[in-house]
């Protein structure tokens, strides 16, 4: 675990996770985040103010998307999916001028809402990195293959901060934490868990509410990313 601010910095093997005690099938204890208390903050400013103050390495929000699905899971057509993720992603990508079907090639990293391991896997699919049903194979087949999958040195590093499972889940503050982490990455100030920044764009994702009905996605860009097509 490379993030010094993480609440649960653990050096884990796949066996450690599989051997941890079961909480709710199929989730083991180490598949679940630690519910936590913490705060997170972002400093937001309009373009004129950033220029007036001469802020160095500002990160620009270029796309915002939010969507809801039925709060009561029993009302949903497909109870294993969060369609709010898909809709929020499409709105945010469109605003940022990105393509849902090519998003994997257009961003450097994503900080996803991985309160439980399975949530990160379905988010790969719903945010458009891989087709439906291929989130599991994407991570599984790329283990120890540099340049592939969602790993820190992969195609789209997902949760290089450690995500909610690594950092702890301070409900209500985590979306801000994930956004801040993605911003630090784009500024190349993330430290030991810094990923390679080439396109200058990152995604921050958060979900919440009853049945995780609400999804929010932010696309952000560094100065270099603004110049990229």
């Amino acid at each position: 675990m490379l993030n010094p601010k993480a609440q649960s910095p653990m050096d884990l093997t796949i066996e450690d996770v599989l051997n941890s005690r079961i909480i709710c099938y199929p989730f083991k204890m180490l598949d679940c985040c630690l519910y936590s208390e913490a705060s997170a903050a972002l400093i937001l400013a309009p373009e004129e103010k950033v220029k007036e103050l001469g802020i160095e390495k500002p990160i620009w929000i270029t796309g915002v998307g939010a969507a809801n699905t039925d709060c009561f899971i029993g009302n949903r057509e497909d109870m294993g999916r969060l369609y709010s993720n898909i809709n929020a992603a499409k709105v945010a990508y469109k605003m940022a001028g990105l393509d849902y079907n090519k998003i994997k090639q257009q961003v450097d990293l994503a900080e996803l809402h991985d309160a439980f391991s399975g949530q990160e896997v379905i988010s790969y699919e719903e945010l458009g990195f891989v087709p439906f049903g291929e989130g599991g194979p994407w991570i599984e087949n790329s283990f120890e293959k540099p340049g592939e999958g969602p790993w820190i040195n992969g195609e789209v590093p997902c949760c290089p901060s450690g995500g909610l499972i690594g950092c702890g889940h301070a409900v209500g503050a985590t979306g801000i934490m994930s956004t801040g982490e993605a911003a630090l990455q784009l500024r190349e100030d993330a430290g030991k868990h810094q990923v390679t920044i080439e396109k200058g764009r990152a995604i921050a994702h958060s979900i919440g509410g009853p049945g995780a009905a609400y999804a929010a996605i932010i696309v952000m860009t560094n100065e270099e990313g603004l110049k990229q097509p």
């Binding site: 709710c24 199929p26 029993g74 009302n75 109870m79």
Partner: protein, 167 residues
């Protein structure tokens, strides 16, 4: 009084609160479970919609028209489920047990309810499995008055002294 003089004496105690809560417009569902072992849903009265809500909704969440009560079948299909190994003190004695969303036959939405099995393994409660409602003999008008079991275990469950079949 200086800081040094201050002493704190603490006693651990319990506060008990007696209170009532109402099931409001959905009370009929709980009364029918308690008194008649029936499972009632609601049907939207708008002929262009007609959606069947289970758990019941007093107004249709799709078109906002009023709904009417209808009796539901007590068999259904598991839409999604999990097996619980960690829970609150209220249910800890039942661990492990399954909970899931069950679409009763004829309903458009799914009910969140416990699923019990004599041999609780994930394949018993996976999506698509058929289940049937079993009622406690001692009912209080709560969701815990009934639960679902795999259809092929139904006869054995209702033969147990504390449970019985529905109406």
């Amino acid at each position: 009084m200086s800081k040094q003089d201050f002493q704190s004496h603490e006693i651990r105690d319990i506060i008990k609160i007696n209170y009532k809560y109402t099931m409001g417009g959905q009370s009929k569902f709980f009364i029918e479970v308690m008194n008649n072992k029936k499972l009632l849903g609601t049907k939207c009265t708008n002929s262009n919609c007609g959606k069947i809500w289970m758990p019941p909704r007093i107004n249709c969440s799709e078109c906002y028209s009023p709904t009417e009560w209808i009796e539901m079948k007590q068999t259904g299909t598991i839409e999604v489920s999990t097996i619980v190994w960690y829970t609150t003190s209220a249910f800890i004695k039942s661990v492990p047990y399954s909970i899931g969303f069950i679409k009763l036959d004829g309903a458009d939405t799914a009910l969140f309810q416990g699923i019990f099995s004599e041999n609780l393994v994930p394949s018993k409660v996976k999506k698509g499995r058929r289940v049937k409602a079993v009622f406690s003999k001692n009912r209080e008008g709560k969701m815990t008055d009934f639960f679902f079991v795999p259809e092929d275990e139904y006869e054995r469950w209702i033969a147990k002294p504390e449970y019985e079949g529905g109406a």
